[in-house]
Each structure stands twice: as C-alpha cells, then as structure tokens.
Symmetry: C2
Subunit: 287 residues, 2 copies
C-alpha cells in the first residue's frame, strides 16, 4: 500500500505515524516543497522516502495536508495524475471551496473531503504525534460523491486510527466550525496581542500570568501560514461569529459600566453550562 | 500551630492540604458558612475540625480565602479577634481595596496581603489539590506594613509550599492582573456564551468542538460567586483591558472585511511571540 502524504507537518505527519503503526504493508512517501521537512520526516521515521509529484501515479492513497489555499490548486492536479483506484483525501479546516473547485473533475469520485478535529498549536514534522486522532471527530463532507469502495477504504483507516465520523454538508461545516474553532483562534490571538502590547511598557506583567492565561492564549502560537487562508476562505462565517462575540463583550462591558453586577453574575452562571459540553469533549478523548 | 482556614474551597482547601503535609504540628480548623463544605473538608482530611468565628482567638495563622467582597468586611473582624502574634493573610485576586480597608486597623501589622497565582476552574473542597502552589508565583503587597516576624513566618510557609515571591504595590497588582487573569476570564465566558447562544438552534455544533475550543473556554466554568466581586472591585482596570481587547478584535474584523490578509498574517506572526512568554510560564511549573 503506497501512501503519499503531501505536506508533512503536524496533521499529515501524525496521520503518517498512525498509518505506519496500523498498516505493516504501508510504504510512506513524503511530498513537501520544504526539503528540510522531508529530511526531518525521514530521519524521524515518519515517512520512508521523499517523492516527486509525478510519482503520485503509483499511489494507493494520497493525503493532502497543506494550507487550504494551496489545496484549491493542488487537489485538481493530484486528481489529474493519480490512477483509477487511488483514494485522495484532504484534511483542511474549510470544506466549501475545496468541494466546489473539484465538483466537475472527471476523478471527483476518487476524492473524499474530510476534516479531522485534532491538532495542537505547533507545526512542522517535529510536531507530529502518535495517536493524535484517537477519540477525535472526523467530519466528512459530500460522502455520496466518493466512489463506494474508496469510501470504505477511507472509513477503515479512520476507524483504525480511532476516529468517530460525522457526516455534514460543506456549507454547514464551514458555518459551524467558525464558531467552535476559527473564533477561538481569533479570540486567542487578540488576547495575546492585547497583553503583549501592554507588556512593552510593563515588563513585570508576565511574571503574574498563570495557567488560566496560558490556556486562553495557547492557540495564539498557531501557524499564520496555515490560519490566514482559513480565515480568507471562511471570511463571511468568521465575520459573523466575530460580530456576535464582540457584541457579547460590549454587552459585558456595559454591564460593568452600569454596575449591574447581578446581571454579570447571571451571565456567568448561564455560561457555566459549558461544563457539560466540555465534559462531553473530555469523554470522547478518554474512550 | 493552630491554622484556621476561613473558606474551605479550591484555594483555602489546597493551602490546608499542603500545610498539613509540610507541618506535622499543624492543627487545621475550617471556618465556613456552608456546613456541608466543613463536613466534606473533614471527611476528606483537609481540616481536622470545624470552628466558630470566636475560636479565631486561638489561631496562630488565619488564612482568609473567601470572595473578595466578603474579605472587605471579614478581615477587619478577624483582626479584631486574633491574638497579638497571629498572622492573617488573604489570597484574593484584587489587592487595592483590601489594603485600603484595613490600613488604619490597630492590628494592621498582623495582616499580609497575598495573591497566589494558582487555581483551576473548579470550586469547593472537592476541588482542593495537593501541590497546587508548587512553582507558582505569590504576589505580596505592602510587605513593609506587616510585622517582620510575621512576614518571616508567612515566607517560610510559602517557601515550603514551593512558591516564588514577587513584591508589588496593590495599585500595580490590580492593574496588571486585569490583563493576565481577569480579561482571560471574560474572553472565555463570552466565547462560551457566543457559542452556546448559537447552539440553541444548531444542536450538532458541539460534536465539532475540539481541544482548542476546550482550552479557550475552560475558564468559563469558573464560579460566578467568586468572579463577580473581583470584576466589581477591579472594575476600572477591567474596563480598560476589555476596551483594548475589543478594539483589537474590531481591527481584526476590519482587516477581514477589507480582505487585507497580509496584515492578518502579520498580526498573527507578531503575536506568535507569545510562545516565549508561555514557555516561561511552563518552565516555572516544571521546576
């Protein structure tokens, strides 16, 4: 089984590691513009060897894990070159445009649009982790447009890696993911910026930061190269979530200014309900 | 050594646990309006017995770990009742008003104003943890106003519990802590609210939430009873940080609307600098 991973970073590298562990027969090929990444991935045993784009014609499986803007031009070219029974899937954080761009491609049925909800704030092959996908959700879009046998092949891999599957149309995916992922990244980046801007004049401030601060700004370590095109592709949904978030913050500020602390108490109490939701996420991780 | 802990929750309970471990001779008394908390703390071995307010006259050490509005009326009464050589310290997240309210008290020199930067999003005696304070910063305000021997006693305890000390005036404390703690709580609560409000109509949304979302909204589980009076006491500083945060979010939204993605890239890249800062926090935890 020849598995080609285009983009050997956190996401692609972690998939390669798990596939190697679950499939003895897998030969893993890394395709990456960054020569240093290929070499690092070989050294770390993430892939067996580097490969050129032309060699994709020998692939049984191609995983496309590159920034979502690159995907739009890359995936049609991958579909052009692959053989008849090859499965191609992407792992990007936006799904509407990628589904749109390949919808008329003669090899549309070789492609599966997926979004594994997994990752960390780090990037590059050194960030790749074993078992990153265990217990995580993988969202699959337009499953009916993929050849049945290739759906089966993909689901077997996802199942072996421990993922649970949710099916969703790409428009709903992009709308919902703006709330539960893209907005968190913006809130984190802007929180980091607010505090760093202050720190220019106040050197001692970070001595006072604890684990709560670390938790809320963790995502501000994320890669701008990966996230800029996500925000670009999901611009309308992200603006909607950001508008609602800012309104809620403005409302909280008004309550403070009006000394309406009983309303502030109620706001927080109502939001404490998030406990159940987060426990849900936690449970999924544990099982 | 008779140690009285007023308020046997996450913070007071964790201090009691560590003090018991480090001081064999310590007898731990719990004072709490909530009878169930006292019983739970005794059952869990956090304190030896419950005590009435009047028994504070027998205390060598009194730890005041109650909501910061309660502290303002409680601490003067505690100082009224304690004996001459008793040390009283608080652990609240705001320091200006508590220092102000006791500044003319005849027993001002028995009091030390402290803020251990430690905690979790949970509350009550069941949330108390061993070694919560190991490697954490403890901010001490107006140290010079505390009797030298009682400073020494307090520093010995903090040192035994593994804390590092930073001295700061209460006005600076409240200003800085608004950035690195209070703002994080508001951003988290309002992020949770934004997504929960959406979820009313979109039941599937939380199936898509991953660890990034969990991390940014973790603090939205925090206790409204504890946090409402913190926001009230630190209102002016919190409004300042919130104003700057909202401005940064508005700016980010404008860049999105103007399709200025190169500026968005730069914003994120500049904020990636937070890595070094967070690594700093991490290191402190590990040593």
């Amino acid at each position: 089984m020849n598995v080609f991973v285009i983009g050997i970073g956190l996401i692609g590298g972690s998939l390669a590691k798990d596939i190697r562990e679950k499939y003895n027969e897998a030969v893993l090929f890394g395709v990456d513009n960054n020569e240093a990444h290929i070499n690092e991935a070989i050294e770390k045993g993430i892939v067996d060897k580097g490969a050129s784009f032309e060699e994709l014609k020998n692939a049984d499986i191609v995983i496309v894990s590159v920034p979502v803007d690159v995907s739009l031009t890359l995936i049609p070219k991958v579909l052009d070159i692959i053989s008849e029974n090859c499965l191609v899937f992407d792992v990007g954080s936006t799904k509407e445009q990628v589904c749109e761009v390949i919808k008329e491609h003669p090899k549309r049925r070789n492609f599966l649009a997926t979004h594994p909800i997994a990752g960390t704030e780090f990037s590059g092959p050194s960030a790749a982790l074993n078992n990153l996908y265990r217990g995580k959700t993988n969202i699959i879009c337009e499953v009916e447009k993929t050849a049945f046998k290739l759906q089966e092949k993909a689901l077997e891999i996802f199942s072996n890696l421990g993922m649970r599957i949710r099916y969703m149309d790409p428009v709903s995916h992009d709308k919902h993911i703006a709330y539960v992922s893209h907005l968190s990244h913006i809130s984190s980046f802007m929180l980091g910026k607010t505090v760093i801007d202050k720190e220019k004049n106040e050197r001692d401030i970070f001595d006072m930061a604890g684990s709560g601060f670390a938790s809320t700004v963790r995502l501000a370590k994320s890669s701008p190269a990966m996230w800029t095109p996500i925000f670009e592709q999901n611009k309308d949904n992200v603006i909607e979530t950001l508008t609602e978030y800012i309104q809620n913050l403005e409302h909280f500020k008004t309550l403070l200014e009006e000394n309406n602390f009983s309303a502030i108490y109620t706001e927080m109490e109502n939001t404490n309900h998030i406990k159940q939701i987060l426990n849900g996420i936690q449970e999924v991780k544990l099982h």
